[in-house]
Amino acid sequence: MNLDELYQEVILDHYKRPRGVGLREPYEGESHQVNPTCGDEITLRVHVEGGTVADVSYENVGCSISKASASVLYELVKGASVEDSLERLGEFTELMNSKGQGEGDEETLEDAVAFAGVSKYPMRVKCALLGWMAFKDALVRAEAAVPTPGGGAEQ
């Protein structure tokens, strides 16, 4: 096993200094996701303004991969159009399901390409995707203006 492949410097850096952490107002959609096999959790909010992801804010408990992944997500989608952010979501999900075959496009995925190595570790793919699943869900809720359970009181 090549540890460095999994724990790239970029990942360790995002893990140790996560960007955008904290739950902020305003927001239109919130999602709470749990990884049932390990108990890791994330609560994530999106604030959409005029077709743009104006903010993504979150609190999470988890391993380096899941924390770094949420931090990278924040950097990638904050300020992007909703459409672009969904494209990133698709690309990242595809990369994670590539079983070590994918490399990811550095142009679009930026730091997230560091997760390419994670895709070789099926038990860790879920960790890397947790925040992204929350983002997807929160976005759906924001668009539908579905009132979220607990009205943000969760976590």
């Binding site: 749990v34 096999t37 099926p122």
Partner: protein, 422 residues
């Protein structure tokens, strides 16, 4: 229209070590595959390789063995799902056998009664009806009987004609607006009948009932495509399809699995747990509490590979030939009466019969002394026995490794029976 058998039975037989076994000084003629099939070396080898190389508990750790074990287990699920034409791999739930699979569905109804906000399709009570047939294996009768007993619902059933077919004359009355679920046998284990499904499925859908199949004797022997069948669930079992004991399958539509309350509860099926309250994982995990049969799933996947390589159309064609040969040859035995369809149409290579004046136990015993293994008894289908006025039958059943020569040996051994009990 049917292709002639394309199975190379001799080379298939070489894969089954047990077929080289002798019973006393006679070679084994194993004609009891409807009870359980034999396992090719490919299945036992795959299990052994897994145990000696990758054994670990699944879904629970990040170490290499756990990751290999999880991939093997989920890979088996994917293989089984593809084999039966499931739309999603997550529609396959691993259980311990067919019996558990059917109980799981029956308990979904029982538990829904005690659950607030349960899906109304599963809430059962007095006035509601459950429909089975008279040719069920006990596994697809007793759970529904118990369910009715516990909820006050009424059990109804479709009868059997004298030739061993489902009597569909009163179908529209038996299945009616009060019917909440119809569960019926796909291929009958005592009679050998292959039931046509479309009419019953259509009627069930018409009245808004859920409809499922006990496919325990179907999946091993016929091409089965759950999407084509149009049913809501089917149950089958590993040990009858060249796989190991200790594993069964429930396939159900994803939407239905989501709506069903959990059955067995414990580890691996939860989302989160506090002392006060538990929320549950999504299906299939929701229905797989505790450590699953991991090595057995690996074995089942190897069995599915084996069957897929033979081609289920070829398996079916081979067994049609076998059935025809069995019926033809058995008819030559004095005092023998076949119970079930007597023509090799809409039936499998499983033939039950009576031998005048000789109890099946005694038939089976004498056959065994000739190396011929058949099953005798009620075959877990007592109501079928009652329908045909017998307490037990002798049943010979073939599979991919069965030869016409073994049928010939059965027939001459039956002559031997007649001599002993003359």
């Amino acid at each position: 229209m049917e292709a002639a058998s394309k199975l190379d039975v001799e080379s298939i037989r070489a894969d089954f070590p047990i077929l080289r076994r002798k019973i006393g000084d006679k070679p084994l003629a194993y004609l009891d595959s409807a009870a359980t099939s034999q396992k090719p070396a490919q299945v036992t080898d795959a299990m052994r390789r897994f145990t000696d190389h990758s054994n670990a508990n699944i879904s629970r750790s990040v170490h290499t063995l756990a990751s290999e074990a999880t991939e093997a287990y989920e890979g088996a699920r994917a293989k089984v799902a593809d084999f039966i034409g499931a739309i999603s791999h997550d529609e396959v739930v691993f259980t311990k056998n067919s019996t558990e699979s059917i109980n799981l569905v029956a308990y979904a109804f029982q538990n829904a009664v005690a659950e607030r906000g349960a899906d109304p399709r599963f809430v059962l009570g007095p006035g509601d009806e459950v429909v089975v047939t008279e040719m069920e294996h006990h596994a697809n009768l007793v759970p529904w009987q118990q369910l009715c007993l516990r909820t006050g619902a009424t059990l109804r059933w479709i009868g059997i004609t004298d030739t061993g077919r489902l009597d569909l004359e009163h179908l529209d009355e038996v299945i009616n607006e009060r019917t909440k679920v119809v569960s019926f046998v796909h291929v009958a284990n005592l009679l050998g009948t292959v039931n046509p499904t479309s009419q019953i499925v259509a009627r069930a859908k018409e009245v808004g009932a859920l409809v499922g199949l006990d496919s325990s004797q179907a999946v091993p022997h016929l091409p089965v495509d759950v999407t084509e069948l149009g049913v809501d669930f089917i149950a089958f079992t590993g040990h009858k399809m060249l796989g190991p004991t200790g594993i069964g399958v429930l396939w159900a539509k994803a939407e239905l699995l989501d709506a069903m309350p959990p059955f067995l509860t414990g580890g691996s099926m939860i989302e989160t747990v506090t002392m006060e309250r538990t929320t549950f994982a999504k299906a299939p995990a929701k229905f797989e509490a505790g450590t699953p049969p991991v090595a057995e799933a690996v074995g089942l996947a190897a069995a599915v590979d084996y069957l897929a390589a033979l081609g289920m159309d070829n398996v079916r064609a081979h067994e049609k030939e076998l059935a025809a040969y069995m019926l033809e040859r058995l008819e030559t035995v004095d005092g023998l009466t076949v119970i079930g369809p007597r023509v090799p149409i809409g039936r499998g290579a499983t033939v039950s019969f009576e031998l005048d004046g000789v109890h099946p136990h005694d038939v089976g015993q004498v056959l065994d002394s000739e190396g011929v293994a058949v099953r005798v008894g009620h075959h877990c289908a007592k109501p079928t026995c009652v329908r045909f006025g017998v307490t037990a039958t002798t049943r010979a059943s073939g599979y991919v490794y069965t030869t016409t020569e073994e049928i010939d040996r059965l027939v001459s051994a039956l002559e031997q029976v007649r001599k002993v009990f003359a």
